[in-house]
């Protein structure tokens, strides 16, 4: 039976189930299939902080959203076109995000009285399908006993009922893979490898996956198969990559490019731990990972390794930075290279460990005693974490300074196709250790400075003639002995600031995206909001209006041309997942009336909301009425 094939340009699917239902794996596999197929894509995993929250409850719901398209896309999508709900709680938790007409595939097996009650349903919503006033009335609902069919399909393997039922996620994956014409080989190969040591489980999962596919092919429930063609992309070899993986690879690459051993001192914390896990696998690159007794020892050991002459890194999230602050101050004072990775999460305090936020910018800027400037670098997408890590390492080594690399939970766990760079594209990082001295040479001066960068020498133990003492007490200019002299302190405070400011000399000009050159409104952001801002800007432009976009990689120091760029626009909008931290910095430094667009919901900003906010500013700036309907649709309506 050949079914109808309908062309789509993009689809957003959300897999949702209980924490133990394997939804992250299911979403990840669907993503890999789509990546290999050649779609552009962006993902948004969303899971509870509890490892196993109470089964069947709303807090226990784990979901994975994937947005894939035949063209370049920037976000994981605002609202899912398709929801796969494995139990009542998953249905209830996600229903509010669905637009009218969305498709819902429900595993009916878990819609028992007990599970309905746990999810807070007084009656089974599936019983009233088709009734007037049904809460599911506006959606295309497919109630299917996914679990039952899975158990039936894998019965030949003699698994316990529980183990058999656990393969239901692969049945669902098979069904969705059929619906969207995904290639199946990558998932079959993956399952063969993943469960190589347990043949029964392996075969059951592959069988469930194939059965799901075949069910789509044969059942009359699904009359239409959809096709989303591959997206045109720049030539190159691609892979799908998460931010944490790209960041870890960037650190390995920084070690290779600087020919320095990498030393990671770290303490596990969500959502940064995967960087520690990944780097611990790469000892063959000379990477040492040290799981310390606490956050303080994590950075302490890294600072020791920096003194020893290694490429030192510590990885953490916001609460960990709070504990590391004193040592960051010591790194500022001793002027040693150190990369501090903060994978930001919802705060304050323990906050929302598994959710995203970008509210640690001012902590990175100012969260230390005294005048303790630290450069700040931020990646804008999962794949960009690779380049940002190399840039943080370049600045740290070149300027002998701690550097903040501000990722966030959305970048860390989200993924996108990444064009694998050629090695020739990577920056070369020069450690430039201070050379040994003979007895007759002039005395070594550990705080003499390079006239261009203002960096002091990196004089590592084991080098004859450079014996010296560093530490947290103020050092005399040049000679580096303890100094309590007021004029010297003033000079050293200003010099440390001047050194950080000097980094701006090494930065490329900003790229202003202003296709018409006539925009009066500039949208400026940093970090993971790049995707939503870009998508919002596109919507405004599609509706026929002008808007410019700039995205900052460097938050401290700001690029030299930023002030001039800001002056060129009537209105400046700063969307952030905080209460206005970048906008505060811009207003303070450039005296510009930067307006914030701020949400702290633990979730990425939505393109539609941003388009709305941008549109309002365009209306004010240009004195026009802004209708965000795409220009093409407006014309056809005439």
């Amino acid at each position: 039976m050949s079914k109808q094939v309908k062309q789509l340009d993009r689809v957003i699917i959300r897999f949702a189930g209980d924490s133990g239902d394997g939804m992250q794996l299911t979403g990840d596999r669907f993503t890999q299939e789509s990546a290999v197929f050649g779609n552009d894509l962006v993902t948004l995993p969303n899971f509870p902080a509890e490892i196993r929250a109470p089964q069947g409850t709303i807090p226990g719901v784990s979901s994975f959203q994937v947005h894939f398209a035949d063209h370049d896309i920037l976000t994981a999508g605002d609202a899912p076109d398709v929801l796969v709900a494995m139990n009542p709680a998953a249905l209830k938790a996600n229903l509010g995000d669905l637009p009218k007409g969305a498709t819902i595939i429900v595993d009916t097996h878990d819609f028992s009285a007990r599970n309905l009650q746990k999810a807070g349903y007084e009656a089974n919503p599936l019983d009233s399908l088709g009734d007037a006033g049904s809460i599911l009335g506006e959606f295309a609902v497919h109630p299917i006993d996914l679990t039952g069919m899975t158990v039936e399909a894998v019965k030949e393997f003699g698994l316990s009922r529980k183990d058999a039922a656990r393969a239901k996620n692969m049945f669902a994956l098979g069904l969705l893979s059929w619906m969207y014409g995904r290639p199946t080989e990558p998932t079959e190969a993956f399952l063969s490898k993943r469960f190589a040591k347990v043949p029964d489980i392996r075969d059951a999962n592959i069988t469930a996956f194939k059965s799901g596919w075949n069910f789509g092919e044969t059942t009359e429930t699904f009359a239409v198969q959809y096709e989303v063609k591959p997206a045109p992309m720049a030539p190159g070899t691609y892979r799908n990559i998460t931010g944490n993986l790209a960041l870890a690879y960037g650190l390995v690459a920084a070690g290779v490019q600087s020919e320095l051993p990498v030393f990671l001192g770290s303490y596990p914390i969500t959502p940064a731990s995967d960087i520690l896990h990944e780097l611990s696998k790469h000892k063959a690159f000379g990477v040492t990972t040290f799981q310390a007794e606490d956050e303080i020892a994590g950075i302490g050991s890294a600072l020791g390794a920096a003194f020893a002459g290694q490429l030192a890194v510590t990885t953490t999230s916001g609460p960990g930075v709070a504990l590391k602050s004193e040592t960051i101050g010591l790194a500022v004072m001793t002027e040693l290279p150190l990369v501090i990775v903060n994978v930001q999460r919802g705060g304050p305090s323990t906050g929302l460990p598994t959710k995203t936020e970008q509210a640690d910018l001012l902590q990175a800027m100012f969260g230390r005693n005294g005048e303790a400037p630290v450069p700040v670098v931020a990646p804008q997408s999962p794949g960009d974490c690779f380049d940002a890590a190399l840039e943080a390492a370049r600045i740290a080594v070149t300027y002998r300074t701690p550097v903040f690399l501000l990722s966030d939970g959305y970048l860390a766990n989200g993924s996108e196709p990444w064009r694998i760079p050629e090695l020739s594209e990577l920056p070369v990082i020069e450690p430039g250790f201070a050379a040994p001295r003979e007895q007759d040479d002039a005395a070594f001066r550990p705080y003499d400075r390079d006239p261009e960068t203002l960096a002091r020498p990196w004089a590592i133990p084991g080098t004859p003639g450079l014996e010296h003492r560093i530490g947290g007490l103020e050092k005399g200019d040049g000679h580096g002995n303890i100094s309590y002299d007021p004029a010297n302190h003033d000079l050293m405070v200003r010099t440390r600031q001047a050194k950080i400011d000097r980094i701006a000399e090494s930065l490329p000009p900003l790229v202003v995206d202003d296709p018409s050159g006539e925009a009066k409104v500039l949208v400026i952001g940093w970090g993971s909001t790049y995707g939503p801002i870009g998508a919002g800007v596109r919507r405004v432009r599609k509706a026929g209006f002008n808007v410019a976009q700039v995205h900052l990689r460097h938050l401290n120091p700001f690029p030299k041309d930023l002030g001039e760029i800001l002056k060129g626009y009537d209105k400046v909008l700063v969307p952030e997942m905080n209460l206005g931290q970048l906008s505060m910095l811009l207003r303070a430094k450039y005296l510009v009336d930067a307006q914030g667009y701020n949400q702290v919901r633990g979730l990425p900003l939505k393109a539609a909301d941003l388009a709305q906010a941008i549109g309002e500013l365009v209306a004010q700036a240009e004195g026009v009425t802004v209708d965000l309907t795409p220009a093409t649709e407006k014309e056809s309506a005439r």
Binding site: Y249, F285, T288, F290, G309, R469
Partner: protein, 361 residues
């Protein structure tokens, strides 16, 4: 997760991988040009002199020695030595030294700390350094008072101590640093005294030679805020009765003409002080610093007075071999590196280009 055999090579001296000096060195070479600024009469002077005299005997290249300290009077120590040094932040010296020692097998790493620095704010790092057995020597200057902040009680001050912050007497129970180190599975745990240059030097030599974390508690007098805290073990009239000397392989006896000694206490499972005449010489406990079981060493450490000090065992309580964290960490990196073929850049290209890929032309 399952444990795997790490296949550690044979144990080595603490300074085995550190390059040695070309010729004889002098104490003067180890003195920096900085003026020493401790209070007159401070016990730190004696320790500094002893270390400056001892380091030449160690015969290492001066540039391969690093002293790391925390915060407190004693933590100024690195400024006065012409080696590499870092005067860090309060309590964190062991963590910084752990990074240094793990990164570089060719360094002799020393930590200088005090009772406040090591046992209050830095307690966590101290116990974990001991547990991991990172190759470094920790000199814990114990004056049983906070000096730099001008005289508050410390975690080794006796209960009831009247200080600026405890006008009615301290209600804090003190730590016994030796008991703490043994409890943390320290492999080299010793106690010595600032004023006994000969004993101090012999303990430093054994500590430096030990591969792993060596903890040396040094009783050190603060003449300003806690003067006389250790008079009992320094005064010629009382010291014979106050010091219980620990020498590996020797029966533990002390007092005038060795009239007193230690025996096992059958009632408590610990050890107790007896008159040798009462039990006979053969009943005395023979000190075994190499005993893999730390139980007896711990029992001996309990003979230290928790209050005003009248009696304390002095010497090396424990000296046992256990693989060090840094050796094992480096061995894993070395084994992975030697197993990899091709240069690092080619392997990097392989790493980032791995996984499921597709090519767009």
């Amino acid at each position: 997760m399952t444990a795997i055999d790490l296949g550690v090579p044979g144990l080595r001296s603490g300074v085995e991988l550190v390059p040695t000096a070309d010729g004889p060195q002098s104490a003067k070479e180890y003195s920096s040009d900085q003026e020493v600024r401790w209070c007159p009469g401070c016990g730190d002077y004696a320790v500094l002199k002893a270390v400056q005299s001892f380091l030449p005997d160690l015969g290492l290249r001066r540039e391969n020695i690093v002293f790391v300290s925390g915060i407190g009077c004693s933590s100024r120590f690195p400024y006065y030595l012409d080696t590499y040094g870092m005067h860090s932040i309060h309590g964190r010296a062991p963590s910084i030294a752990t990074g240094l020692a793990t990164a570089r097998e060719d360094l002799s790493v020393w930590v200088v700390t005090g009772d406040g620095d090591a046992l209050s704010i830095g307690g966590n790092h101290l116990i974990h350094a001991l547990r991991r057995n990172v190759n470094m020597t920790i000199l814990l200057f114990n004056n049983r008072i906070y000096g730099l902040t001008k005289g508050q009680y410390s975690p080794t001050s006796e209960a009831g101590k009247i200080t600026k912050s405890t006008p009615m007497g301290s209600v804090d129970h003190p730590f016994n640093p030796i008991s703490l180190a043994l409890g943390a599975e320290g492999t080299f745990v010793a106690r010595t005294v600032d004023s006994d240059r000969k004993h101090l030097t012999s303990v430093l030599a054994a500590a430096a030679a030990h591969r792993g974390t060596s903890l040396v508690e040094i009783y050190q007098n603060c003449p300003i805020f806690n003067d006389g805290a250790f008079d009992a073990i320094k005064d010629a009239d009382t010291k014979a009765d106050a010091i219980i000397p620990l020498v590996h392989g020797e029966p533990i006896r002390f007092g005038a003409e060795g009239a007193r000694g230690l025996v096992r206490d059958q009632a408590t499972g610990g050890v107790k002080v007896v008159d040798v005449a009462d039990v006979g010489e053969s009943a005395l406990l023979v000190h075994d610093a190499h005993n893999p079981d730390p139980t007896t060493a711990f029992a001996i450490s309990r003979l230290t007075d928790a209050g005003v000090l009248h009696q304390a065992p002095i010497g090396i309580f424990r000296q046992v071999e256990r693989p060090t964290y840094d050796d094992q960490a480096r061995a894993q990196v070395a084994s992975a590196t030697s197993a990899a073929s091709g240069d690092a850049r080619e392997r990097l290209a392989g790493l980032i280009g791995g996984g499921d890929t597709w090519t767009v032309v």
